[in-house]
C-alpha cells in the first residue's frame, strides 16, 4: 500500500521497487488515483508539482434502491458501471499525457518468443537520432529485456508484474513518472508475452501492434481473435524463416482481416532487416502526426491567449508581463 496516499498498486514492481517505496525514497513525483465523492476519478502528482488531471469521461452512477425484492432487509442497488472503467480512466489520462507531449506511444503485444525484444533492439539502432526513443518493458520477472533495450541505446523502465499476465494503465502511469519521455518522442511499451490477456487492458496507447512470427502458424488470428480484433497494425516477423515453415503471409493476413477488417500488415525480419524500411516509415508517420497534433494544440492555446489579451486591452486593462 502506498504510504503517501494509501492506494494499493497490487504487486507490480517498477525498476525493482513497489511504487510506494519509490515515493518514500526520493522526491520524484508519484502518481496515484483517488475517487472523489461525486464518483469522478482524479490523479494527484505528489512532490513534483500540483498538476491535477481528470480521468476523462468516467463518472460511475450508483443509483438509489429501485425496489425491494423479497425480505424487507435486502434491497437492490443499480450500478450500470463498466467493469474496467477505472483502467479506462487511467488509460485516458495516459492518452492525454501523450497528446500534451506529442508522444507516439505503441503497445507491442504477442506470444512469448515472437521476437518483440529483438525487433525493439533493431528498431532502436535503426531509428538513430530521428527523435528520442523510450521503452517501457513488461515481464513477470527479471530486467533482462530492459537491459537489452538500454544496451541498444534507449531509455527504459522495467515493470515486473509478479504473477500478473498483462500490463495495465496504472502500471504504465507509474512507469511514466519515472521515465519522463521527451516531447515529440517515440514510446514503445513491450507488454508481457501473452496473446490473450493484454487485449482487455487499454494502456492509453495510439495503437496495439500485434507481432506474429512465421513459426507460430498462420491460423493464430482465428484462434486468438480478441487480440487481433484490437490491433492497429500486424507485424509478421521472422520472414527469413519462410522457406522452412508452412506459413503464408497472405493467408495469415486474410485471417487477421476477418476479425479486424482493413488491418494493415507489415512483413519483416528483425534479424536480417528485410522489410524494415516500411516499419520505420510507419513509425515516422505516427511520430509526425503526434508532433503535429501537439503543435496545433499549442498554436490554438496561443491564439486563445492573444484573443483574451486583445479583450483585456479593449477594456483598458494592461496585458500581464511576459
Amino acid at each position: 500500500m502506498c504510504t503517501t496516499c494509501g492506494c494499493n498498486d497490487a504487486n507490480a514492481l517498477i525498476e525493482g521497487k513497489a511504487p510506494a517505496s519509490r515515493a518514500a525514497d526520493d522526491s520524484a513525483s508519484h502518481e496515484h488515483w483517488h475517487q472523489h465523492a461525486d464518483g469522478t476519478w482524479h490523479s494527484h502528482v505528489h512532490g513534483g508539482g500540483s498538476a491535477h488531471r481528470a480521468g476523462a469521461g468516467y463518472v460511475p452512477r450508483a443509483l438509489a434502491a429501485a425496489h425491494a425484492p423479497g425480505t424487507a432487509a435486502s434491497r437492490i442497488v443499480q450500478i450500470e458501471e463498466d467493469i474496467l472503467a477505472k483502467n479506462g480512466a487511467i488509460a485516458a489520462y495516459n492518452r492525454g499525457y501523450f497528446a500534451d507531449h506529442g508522444i507516439f506511444a505503441l503497445n507491442l503485444v504477442s506470444s512469448p518468443g515472437s521476437g518483440k525484444t529483438t525487433l525493439l533492439e533493431k528498431t532502436i539502432s535503426a531509428w538513430g537520432r530521428r527523435t528520442p526513443i523510450a521503452v517501457i518493458e513488461g515481464d513477470q520477472q527479471t530486467s533482462r529485456d530492459a537491459d537489452r533495450v538500454r544496451a541498444a541505446g534507449a531509455d527504459a523502465v522495467q515493470i515486473n508484474t509478479g504473477k500478473g499476465c498483462h500490463l495495465d494503465a496504472q502500471m504504465v502511469c507509474h512507469a511514466l513518472t519515472q521515465l519522463a519521455p521527451a516531447d515529440d518522442s517515440l514510446l514503445l511499451i513491450e507488454n508481457v508475452g501473452n496473446l490473450v490477456c493484454p487485449s482487455a487492458f487499454d494502456l492509453g496507447e495510439a495503437h496495439k501492434v500485434v507481432i506474429l512470427s512465421v513459426t507460430e502458424g498462420e491460423d493464430k488470428p482465428l484462434k486468438y481473435p480478441d487480440m487481433f480484433h484490437a490491433a492497429g497494425l500486424l507485424v509478421i516477423n521472422k520472414i527469413d524463416l519462410l522457406p522452412y515453415v508452412e506459413f503464408s503471409v497472405e493467408t495469415a493476413s486474410s485471417y487477421a482481416r476477418r476479425v479486424r477488417p482493413g488491418l494493415e500488415v507489415l512483413a519483416l525480419s528483425a534479424q536480417t532487416g528485410a522489410g524494415f524500411e516500411q516499419w520505420l516509415a510507419w513509425l515516422e508517420r505516427g511520430v509526425r502526426t503526434a508532433r503535429a497534433r501537439r503543435e496545433a494544440d499549442v498554436d490554438q492555446l496561443r491564439r486563445r491567449i492573444a484573443e483574451l489579451e486583445t479583450t483585456l486591452a479593449q477594456r483598458g486593462v494592461a496585458a500581464p508581463p511576459g
Partner: protein, 113 residues
C-alpha cells in the same frame, strides 16, 4: 489469467457501492458480459469466489447475464447476429463487419443487506 484482474475490479465497484448505500453485506451481484467480450464466464466465477473471500461480498451469488453479439454488415447495410469474432455475416458471408454489441462487461446491480 486476466479474469482475476476483472474479478478484483468487480469487487472494488461492488464494495464501494455497498458502503455508499449503507449496506453491510452483498448477497448477490448481477453482471452483464457480452458474448464477444474478453471474459470467460466460468473463469470469472472461479476468480470471483477467490477474491471475495473475507470481503463484504463473501459468498455473494454471482449472476451473469450474457448479451448476444451483433455487428453492422457493410455489404448488407444492416445489423446481423455475430456468434464470435472471426465469423462471417450469416446472411451474405462477408467479413466486412463492425461489431455493434457484445463487447460489454458491466456490473448491472447488487443486492445488499
Amino acid at each position: 489469467m486476466h479474469e482475476l484482474a476483472i474479478a478484483e475490479s468487480v469487487l472494488e465497484i461492488v464494495e464501494r457501492t455497498a458502503r455508499a448505500s449503507g449496506g453491510e453485506r452483498v448477497a448477490a451481484v448481477w453482471l452483464e458480459i457480452g458474448a464477444l467480450s474478453h471474459v470467460q464466464p466460468e473463469a470469472l466465477r472461479f476468480c470471483f469466489d477467490a477474491v471475495t473471500r473475507g470481503s463484504l461480498a463473501d459468498h455473494a451469488r454471482l449472476e451473469i447475464v450474457t448479451t448476444p453479439g451483433t455487428a453492422w454488415c457493410m455489404p448488407c447495410s444492416e445489423t446481423v447476429p455475430l456468434g464470435s469474432l472471426g465469423e462471417a455475416c450469416p446472411r451474405c458471408g462477408s467479413y466486412q463487419l463492425a461489431v455493434s454489441q457484445g463487447e460489454e462487461m458491466r456490473v448491472k446491480e447488487i443486492e445488499i443487506t
